[in-house]
């Protein structure tokens, strides 16, 4: 039963499987994001308080959601790599970090652009904003710790410990708006009782979240392929792959 799983953890097999997965992830991502942008900019009505200014949530909320989701993915992969000594898991964790850092930066920047006209300030040291900034620094710390070692195994293990330590920040970010009275508003869609957002504003947001998630998975698959190839550079299969692609390029 577990053979397919162990096979997937073998780098050459994963390298091939991931290649065939990429179009199945990136095409839906493009479709969903185009649909979400159309819904968010055309279908969704203007807000009763913010007018058209609220429409930045169609980028801000998916980015913020992914910034946390990717961190959890990274920490899980790092934990699996530590416990089961699966190298592919470490490769996944390492590939997550730059993508997660980009989405964290996107969430912070879009939030600041919205904050200036609506709140009246770009930045306040309040719980939600501060904890999200700490998340960005955790990604930066993870990436620089990885590059601080020459030995790949050492680099994998040390960075995995940091990834696992930082995971406590994720629930802090999520609940910061409920635990402490700050400036950032509370959750609109993750609570189940009375809807805080009307349907025509909600579905483009959910579409964008799904589209961004597909985009992340597609980019992750591409990045892990590169990471695996680099790690296995001296192995037979990697050399075969590199030789066949360079011949193809020479033929052109």
């Amino acid at each position: 039963m577990w053979t397919w799983f162990y096979r997937l953890a073998s780098p050459p097999h994963f390298y091939r499987v991931a290649a065939s997965l990429v179009p199945w992830l990136l095409w839906p991502a493009l479709l969903l994001i185009v649909l979400g942008i159309w819904g968010g900019l055309v279908v969704a009505p203007a807000d009763y308080q913010q007018g058209d200014g609220y429409r930045i949530i169609y980028v801000h909320v998916p980015s913020a959601y992914l910034s946390m989701m990717i961190y959890v993915t990274m920490a899980l992969a790092a934990g699996i790599g530590l416990i089961w000594r699966i190298k592919l898991a470490h490769a996944v964790a390492a590939s997550c970090a730059p993508i997660g850092a980009s989405f964290t930066a996107a969430a912070l920047i879009t939030g600041m652009l919205w904050g200036k006209p609506m709140w009246g300030t770009y930045w306040q040291w309040e719980p939600r904003l501060t904890s999200e900034l700490i998340l960005l620094f955790l990604y930066f710390g993870y990436m620089s710790l990885r590059s601080a070692f020459n030995d790949l195994n050492q680099s994998d293990r040390a960075s995995a410990v940091l990834a696992l330590a930082g995971v406590v920040n994720v629930p802090i970010i999520h609940f910061s708006v409920l635990w402490w009275a700050g400036l950032h508003q509370g959750p609109s869609i993750s609570k189940l009782d009375a809807p805080s957002i009307v349907f025509n504003m909600l579905w483009p947001l959910l579409t964008m979240i799904l589209g961004f998630t597909f985009f992340f998975l597609g980019v992750l698959a591409m990045r892990v392929r590169g990471e695996v190839l680099e790690r296995e550079f001296h192995s037979r299969w990697a050399q075969d792959v590199l030789r066949s692609t360079s011949i193809m390029e020479a033929d052109r």
């Binding site: 009763y48 609506m118 719980p127 402490w180 959750p187 504003m201």
Partner: protein, 155 residues
């Protein structure tokens, strides 16, 4: 115990340990983490004297006023228990409304008036078109805030 189980325990204990440590640290710093004081806290003198603090609450409906020939605005901030008058001269953010949340940075004067140097609007989590807000108001449900009617008073 296999080495793998041992590593699993180690990772589990490590994450739990970090979580407990951070949790205790946050509890210990609870007071320092306080982003703003409510009017009740400010009137009771819980805020440090003479220091700059943030005051947070709702802008009471109909309380926004300006003396003729003066740039200073005054409005009342309430937490539904106590109310404090805020004096401010400056630009208000787009989302500043009567009935909406607000956070003012400044200090409490001897006369009990809060002199604000900066006023920030605190948005709520409701998103809806104006028509829905109007329907909610006529249905007898409290609308989350007054529509931008305060602009007239400001201009």
């Amino acid at each position: 115990m296999t080495p793998r189980r041992q590593r699993m325990m180690l990772v589990g204990l490590f994450v739990a340990g970090v979580a407990v440590a951070v949790g205790l640290a946050l509890r210990a710093f609870q007071e320092n983490l306080l982003y703003f004081y409510t009017p009740t806290q400010a009137i009771a003198g819980e805020a440090p004297d003479g220091k700059k603090i943030r005051l947070g609450g709702m802008v009471e409906k109909g309380s926004l006023r300006r003396e003729p020939g003066d740039l200073e605005l005054r409005f009342d901030v309430t937490d539904n228990e106590k109310t404090m008058t805020v004096a401010y001269s400056g630009v208000l953010p787009d989302l500043f409304r009567e009935g909406q949340g607000v956070i003012a940075m400044g200090h409490v004067d001897a006369d009990g008036v809060f002199r604000a140097e900066e006023v920030l609007a605190k948005h709520d989590e409701n998103y809806m078109p104006p028509e829905v807000a109007a329907t909610m108001a006529t249905d007898g449900q409290a609308p989350p805030a007054t529509p931008p009617a305060t602009d007239a008073a400001l201009n």
